[in-house]
């Protein structure tokens, strides 16, 4: 029976949430007016709070309803059917919750609710901010909840509801005409690429960052609106840090997921969807810098307004880009158009117009200082740094928006066929690399001047040590790598050398800051720590991308007589099963197909698993041991958590050191998406060996077997099968056959054969079952040898047995392998950067959160903190 109640609860809650958001925005707007008296303000505020709490409760109910639909496998709902399936473990149910557009909007809405409630309850010191800030929050929520409203008025569709029933989504499907209460047995499942633990935590982190950008934006807008031009910076600054660190960590998690799961061979692809988050992050980090400058030197308020507003608008623009379908031809992983592009554009346009208009209207009143920037002031370098960040963001923005120019020109009647650059990596790198160089230099110099409050003399004192260390260390690495071959890379490209030297300088300069702050107050060193993180990330990117080396080049020496064989890189190598091939410094062999078995710490060879009709269970055909520990005995029933994933065992052996290791790149055949491959990575401190299968024979395609060849044998006979020696040991009657129920009178006979392969001896046990007078054949396939052996007949009088043999092509995989030096430094740098951000949040929160009453006292305190 289909359950329409839960969907109705969900849909009703969406409507309540939407209406409550309207009420809350209106009430908070009324509470923000300065023309009414304090009592009226308090009344409106109380009312608004109730409305926001109602909104929050409704949102939680929506989430509960949608998760219940997924968790209880209610496939009468389209959302559950199209994103979930019966065998999905709970943690992946969570990720299928936000696989769809509607669910990811809900995630975003949810974080706004959380942040809103936090602001309501901790912002008591900033009571006068509550009404205008929360008015902005509620206004944003109004737009976001409208995206999942699912209301159709005439031709106008507002939002796309996650609670739509299958029968309403596809009313033309014949089954619903026969039985309107029909409910599918199973869902179509979660996109296999998303079945990864990073996909459980990456989207919430990223959306937390998305949501958190609203806080500084709302404070900035409130500052403009209430003519409190400078005061908003203090409460907004820790939030800006928080948004930047969430966005940053979320983005890197996505990069790490791509590195681990997708086979494009890297962590960053300059895909528009990736760029869409990178751009606002850069601008937001720029904004943090101008805000910090304003907090100390009262300079840069206008710039802070501009950048905070820009970062929020860019978040909305990113949402528009990835969800409107406008990137259709440019990106592989943007969402498809749900018919919401108009609504998304409205959302973007309303806030862009509102913010820009307000900013222009109040621009003249924003205080500026007449103080001239001097070269030896920290603020000067901060502004240059922010400018570089914004220009870097602008460059990515200008290119990523090419599909938008096409649409826009098409909209006004001009035909345009511009496409993204053919070589995107080259295009972006030529700017981003130099931006990286500049940022590295600026973090070093900027931090030194900032903390020394220097004149020329004390600055040159401060910079001497880091500069000397940098030159010493850099020249050591350059000489060792070029002359003495100590490393796997040769640092001889002048551009790479520049980035290397400047990043090193950034590390040493910021280290010296931390060392000097150790004596004073270490909590102040958040900036220096995150700058070291950034410099480490730059180093990691430089080595892993600049010196990435494909080692699976085709060395077969085969002559190619086709089109243009010369300058083409032949990056993939074909590996026959159990045949060793030389690849770079390794001897590589492909050893067979493996599966994941519940409760066994290693993958298990497919050959000892007897598959049953239920693809999630199998029966062990031999004892399953790992390191002499027995996990399952022959005949045990096993659970296969991911039967769709095949792991290809590839053994590497270093020919010089004799060191051997095994990798399991995986692939799966997905009915919706074809063959999907994921790499396996051998990580070490200095480099990652990255391996993935580029192609495998399609497991769904029937193998082509040779014609059946019959042999008549007696016990102990030796025959030659497909060039292998085989011995027929005999037959035995067996009582039990896994997976086949035997009744009385049925007879099962099993032949026992031994076949000598190149590396090991195989045992084949083809079965012959006589059941109710019929003969059933259960042939044995030895994939390693490309053999299928069928037990055909028994002649008890002559003690002769008949077996049939088919042969086939041996199994193979096509492999691509590359080495990526020092990827680890990129991940370490990310962690260091995040630690720095968290230190800064703590510090800014303390100074921002301390008492607000006597202004002078507060200022003195802040000053003390800096001097102390």
């Amino acid at each position: 029976m289909i359950n329409t109640l839960i969907g109705d609860i969900g849909h009703l809650s969406v409507i309540i949430a939407f209406v409550a958001a309207i009420v809350a925005s209106y009430a908070y707007f009324m509470a923000s007016r300065s023309s009414i008296d304090a009592e009226a303000i308090a009344k409106w505020r109380r009312f608004a709070r109730v409305a926001f709490y109602v909104h929050s409760a409704a949102v939680l109910l929506v989430i509960f309803a949608l998760f219940n639909i997924i968790y209880e496998h209610r496939y009468e709902y389209y959302y559950a059917w199209s994103h979930s399936s019966n065998h999905l473990p709970v943690h992946f149910m969570i990720s299928c919750f936000w696989e769809g557009q509607e669910g990811s909007f809900l995630l975003w809405i949810f974080w706004h609710v959380v942040l809103g409630i936090v602001l309501l309850n901790t912002g008591k010191k900033y009571k006068e901010w509550e009404a205008p800030v929360m008015a902005m929050f509620s206004f944003v929520q109004l737009f976001l909840t409208s995206m999942i409203l699912g209301v159709v008025i005439g031709d106008l569709k507002i939002g796309s509801s996650p609670f739509i029933l299958m029968r309403d989504f596809m009313p033309d499907t014949p089954v619903f005409a026969m039985d309107p209460n029909y409910k599918p047995e199973d869902g179509t499942g979660l996109n296999p690429l998303l079945q990864n633990y990073w996909m459980v935590i990456h989207p919430p982190t990223l959306f937390l960052g998305f949501a958190a950008t609203l806080v500084p934006f709302a404070f900035a807008m409130a500052g403009l609106w209430k003519n409190k031009f400078g005061e908003w910076v203090r409460p907004a600054l820790p939030w800006a840090h928080f948004a930047a660190v969430s966005l940053g960590i979320g983005t890197v998690m996505g990069a790490y997921w791509a590195y681990e799961t997708l086979n494009f061979g890297g962590y960053w692809n300059w895909d528009p969807v990736e760029n869409a988050v990178y751009i606002p992050w850069l601008v937001l980090v720029g904004a943090i810098h101008t805000m910090v400058a304003y907090r100390r030197g009262k300079q840069g308020l206008k710039a802070s307004y501009l950048l905070i507003i820009a970062s929020f608008i860019l978040i909305l623009y990113a949402t528009f880009l990835t969800r409107s379908g406008i990137l259709g031809n440019a990106s592989v992983h943007s969402f498809t158009d749900l018919g919401l592009s108009g609504q998304l554009f409205t959302y973007l346009a309303v806030f862009a117009v509102l913010a820009v208009a307000l900013l222009i209207y109040k621009w003249k009143h924003i205080p500026t200082t007449e103080k001239e920037l001097t070269t030896y002031s920290g603020e000067f370098w901060i502004f240059i740094g922010a400018a570089v960040l914004c220009l870097a963001g602008f460059q990515v923005l200008a290119t990523t928006s090419i599909p938008v120019y096409n649409s826009f020109l098409g909209f006004i009647g001009i035909e345009s066929n511009a496409a993204l650059p053919a070589d995107q990596i080259e295009h972006y790198t030529k700017f981003q690399l130099w931006a990286g160089v500049l940022i590295a230099v600026l973090t070093g110099i900027g931090q030194l001047i900032w903390w020394r409050k220097a004149d020329k003399k004390s600055f040159s004192d401060a910079i001497t040590m880091p500069l000397m260390l940098t030159l010493l260390f850099a020249s050591l690495v350059i000489i060792l790598s070029n002359k003495f071959d100590v490393f796997d890379f040769k640092l001889d490209n002048p551009v790479y050398i520049t980035l290397f030297v400047t990043s090193l300088f950034a590390v040493f300069a910021n280290l010296s800051i931390i060392l000097s702050l150790l004596h004073k107050k270490v909590t102040l060193s958040g900036g220096a720590v995150s700058h070291i993180g950034i410099a480490l990330m730059l180093l990691g990117i430089l080595f892993s991308s600049g010196y990435s080396n494909i080692i699976s080049g085709n060395t077969s020496g085969m002559l190619y007589s086709r089109e243009f064989p010369d300058e083409i890189n032949r990056d993939n190598v074909l590996l026959w099963r159990n045949t060793t091939t030389d690849m770079d410094k390794y001897s590589v062999s492909y050893r067979g197909q493996f599966l994941e078995v519940e409760g066994v710490p290693e993958y298990v060879n497919k050959e000892i698993l007897f598959r049953t009709a239920d693809e999630y269970t199998a029966i062990a055909r031999a004892d399953i041991k790992v390191n002499d520990k027995l996990y399952f005995k022959t005949g045990d029933t096993l659970e296969l958590p991911t039967p769709e994933n095949t792991y290809y065992q590839v053994e590497y052996k270093n020919r010089e050191t004799q060191e051997a290791f095994v990798l399991y790149p995986r692939a799966q055949v997905n009915p919706n998406m074809g063959l999907l491959a994921s790499p396996d990575i051998k990580a070490s401190v200095t480099k990652d060996l990255y391996t993935h299968v580029s192609s495998v024979p399609d497991p769904n395609e029937e193998k082509e077997w040779s014609e059946l060849q019959e042999y008549t044998v007696t016990m102990g006979d030796t025959i030659i099968l497909n060039d292998y020696v085989a011995i027929f040991n005999g037959v035995e009657v067996i009582k039990e056959v896994p997976g086949v129920p035997l009744k009385e009178g049925d007879v099962a006979v099993q032949a026992d054969m031994k076949i000598m392969g190149e590396k090991k001896t195989y045992h084949a046990h083809p079965l012959l079952i006589f059941k109710e007078g019929m003969a059933g054949y259960y042939p044995e396939i030895i994939e390693d040898l490309g053999l299928r052996i069928t037990f055909l007949n028994v002649d008890p009088t002559k003690e002769e047995f008949k077996i049939g043999v088919n042969t086939t092509q041996k199994d193979y995989i096509i492999l691509k392998a590359m080495e990526k030096p020092f990827v680890s430094i990129l991940w370490i740098g990310t962690i260091v950067m995040s630690i720095g951000f968290i230190m800064a949040i703590t510090r800014r929160n303390q100074e921002g959160g301390s008492s607000n009453k006597p202004k002078a006292k507060h200022a003195r305190k802040a000053e003390k903190a800096q001097v102390a």
Binding site: F383, Q395, T399, I402, A419, N554, N569, D571, N672
Partner: protein
């Protein structure tokens, strides 16, 4: 002149440079006829071509060549552009995994003699990242 004005001018100059460079690097969507003309003019720039795969009545792709046993790095197929011009395309990499299920294909590369050498293939599968088709389960009822 104030220092902030100089900074402003430098920023504007950099922004203009970025725009010019973007315009210079931007590729174009063309058909095979234009791609040929470009190649004949000696232009080495890479272009995008949007096309459909040629399929027979049974829905099998016509003219696809990939034999990994001979050469895992050679894949060739026929693409029909929007003007219904057919062109052989060569891709010196293994066959993209879900190639057979795709309908629309965007390729990046350039004409070299009689063939289009692609260095990137973007598949638009009807089902990829898209709501799955309804027939999937109803067919099995």
């Amino acid at each position: 002149m104030k220092k902030s004005h100089i900074i402003g001018i430098v920023i504007i100059a950099a922004a203009i440079m970025i725009i010019m460079s973007t315009a210079g690097d931007a590729s174009t969507y063309v058909d095979f006829g234009q791609a040929k003309e470009l190649a004949e003019d000696g232009s080495k720039t890479k272009v995008h071509v949007v096309g459909r795969l040629k399929k027979d009545a049974q829905g099998h792709i016509v003219g696809m060549k990939y034999d990994p046993l001979v050469d895992p790095n050679y894949f060739s197929f026929m693409l029909v552009d929007t003007n219904r011009v057919e062109q052989q395309v060569v891709y010196f990499n293994p066959k993209p995994q879900d190639f057979e299920r795709s309908e629309q294909v965007v390729i990046t590369g350039s004409m070299q003699n009689e063939v289009f050498v692609a260095d990137k293939i973007l598949l638009k599968c009807p089902s990829k990242y898209v709501e799955k088709e309804v027939q999937q389960t109803t067919a099995g009822l």
